[in-house]
Amino acid sequence: MIQITFVEHGGTHHTIDIPEGMSLMQAAVNHNVPGIDADCGGSMTCGTCRVCVPLDAQPVTGERSSLEQQMLEFSGLDGSGVRLSCQLVARPEFNGLRLQIPESQV
């Protein structure tokens, strides 16, 4: 199991054990974590599953694909660590990752 912590905008933490291969969006949704709506269920059309990866963990989560890049470019929230959590698939190296959930996904 890979342990991931989602931190709500207000500071509330949700620490979840995730099996390898599951997307972080799916894990958050399964645990009803507030702030990850994921309207499109992971088909990369909605942009409502955004999370912010802290600077030191960015080498672990890797680069955005070009489509993910396009999805984030004008989403109103495009800092360097912002990712679509449906595109982050749990790997052992992710263990201990802390992800910040934005105030709003709209």
Binding site: V29, S43, M44, T45, C46, F74
Partner: protein, 409 residues
């Protein structure tokens, strides 16, 4: 606010909207009892993949579920699946199930969705004439598809076109019959329907527009479709995709205000203050458009589920969202935001021949709709501009060399 443990919410319809309502209630800290009643036998699931990834066999049934089975146990949600709610007793404030069981409520949420429209023509009852709304329908369709099979799709809407794309990927011969002179006549602009028609044709789909169907012929199974001009088209299966009708009969029976759906206010309340309605069945006033709309989309039912959960728990509701919708066909990603009411200018940005473009519709210099094909930046920039109501210059918008940042600033 509402932390009264004895309070009871009952949700009728365990589809997308019903499933989200119970999830948001718990997310917002609702501590009372929650009962979810659904006619389908499975847990709430996502319908969009039924015409796309699931139909193609790319994703599992498990992945369609809105929440895993353990969620309903952990969150203490009382499930009644595979059972129909028959009627509502507004005086006694309970719902009567087909089994005779009475379920009392303090707040009732109707999330009964919509059901597939059929055609008033001979032959629609034949076993291989299908519609698509549920997982059971989708299983039926999937078993009818295979290399070399001939599928006739009646209707040129999104669901029909998505099934056409999926069926082609599975090697099926596809003919789409539409009564209108163009595809997606009521829901997409002319440049988008023209582009999609060409794209589908390049993938081998045959279209017959302005087609009027006389009958579907066959003994027990459909063997051919007969048009009023005498043309006979042979087939192995027929998919009727001519839209959906809101499932409002239970609401009508108790005299709730209905008009092509259950009429609700901005808080999703019906004409009975104890009863809410959301999703495909609800017709609501939209502040961005100043009119009543019944939207059939996941984002709209998500927004309404959140709104109801906020109302019941006494939370400040979120601001109204710009309506949007998506569709996937082949490797085309369609994202549409806004509604094209009273647009007076249409601008195309990008190149349809490269299958990467966006059509913007403006009214008095404001963007009211964006239809983006393989163009997520245009979609998100457009959606933001619809929401902000900022004025943009059509000639700048049309010029792909003018960066979107200069428009969306």
């Amino acid at each position: 606010m509402t932390q009264n443990n004895r309070e009871r919410v009952v949700v009728v319809g365990a589809g997308h909207g019903g499933g989200l309502t119970v999830a948001f209630l718990r997310q917002f800290g609702y501590a009372g009892e929650i009962t979810l009643i659904g006619e389908e036998t499975v847990l709430p699931y996502q319908r969009p993949p039924l015409s796309k990834a699931w139909l193609k066999g790319e994703v599992s049934q498990e992945s369609l579920a809105l929440r895993p089975p353990a969620f309903y146990v952990d969150q203490n949600i009382d499930l009644h699946l595979g059972v129909r709610a028959e009627r509502i007793d507004v005086q006694a404030r309970h719902v009567v199930l087909a089994s005779g069981q009475e379920i009392p409520y303090d707040h009732l949420v109707l999330a009964t969705g919509a059901h597939a429209r059929t055609l008033p023509i001979p032959g629609v009852q034949l076993s291989n004439v299908m519609t698509l709304r549920t997982l059971v329908d989708a299983e039926h369709i999937r078993s009818a598809l295979g290399p070399g099979k001939k599928l006739i799709i009646i209707g040129g809407g999104y669901v029909g076109l998505e099934c056409a794309a999926t069926a082609r990927a599975l090697g099926v011969e596809v003919t789409v019959l539409a009564r209108a002179p163009r595809l997606l006549e009521r829901v997409a602009s002319e440049p988008v329907s023209a582009f999609l028609q060409r794209f589908h044709e390049s993938k081998g789909v045959t279209f017959r527009l302005n087609a009027v169907i006389e009958a579907i012929l066959g003994d027990t199974r459909a063997e051919c479709v007969l048009l009023t001009d005498g043309t006979q088209l042979s087939c192995d299966a027929v998919l009727v995709g001519v839209g959906a009708i809101p499932t409002a009969s239970m609401a009508q029976a108790i005299g709730l205000r209905c008009d092509d759906g259950i009429v609700v206010d901005a808080d999703c309340r019906t004409s009975d203050p104890h009863i809410f309605a959301i999703g495909d069945v609800a017709k609501r006033p939209h502040p961005l458009y100043g009119r009543e709309l019944r939207l059939e989309s996941v984002p709209s039912c998500m927004e309404q589920a959140k709104r109801v959960a906020a109302c019941i728990t006494g939370r400040e509701p979120a601001a109204a969202e710009v309506p949007w919708f998506w569709s996937d066909q082949y490797d085309l990603k369609l994202q549409i935001a806004g509604l094209p009411f009273e647009a007076d200018e249409t601008v195309v940005r990008g190149n349809p021949d490269e299958a990467k473009f966006a059509v913007f519709h403006l009214r008095a210099g404001h963007i009211v709709t964006v239809e983006a094909i393989n163009a997520p930046p245009e979609f998100f920039a457009g959606k933001k501009l619809i929401g902000s109501g900022k004025t943009v210059a059509g000639d700048k918008l049309k010029d792909s060399t003018v960066p979107l940042t200069d428009l969306a600033a």
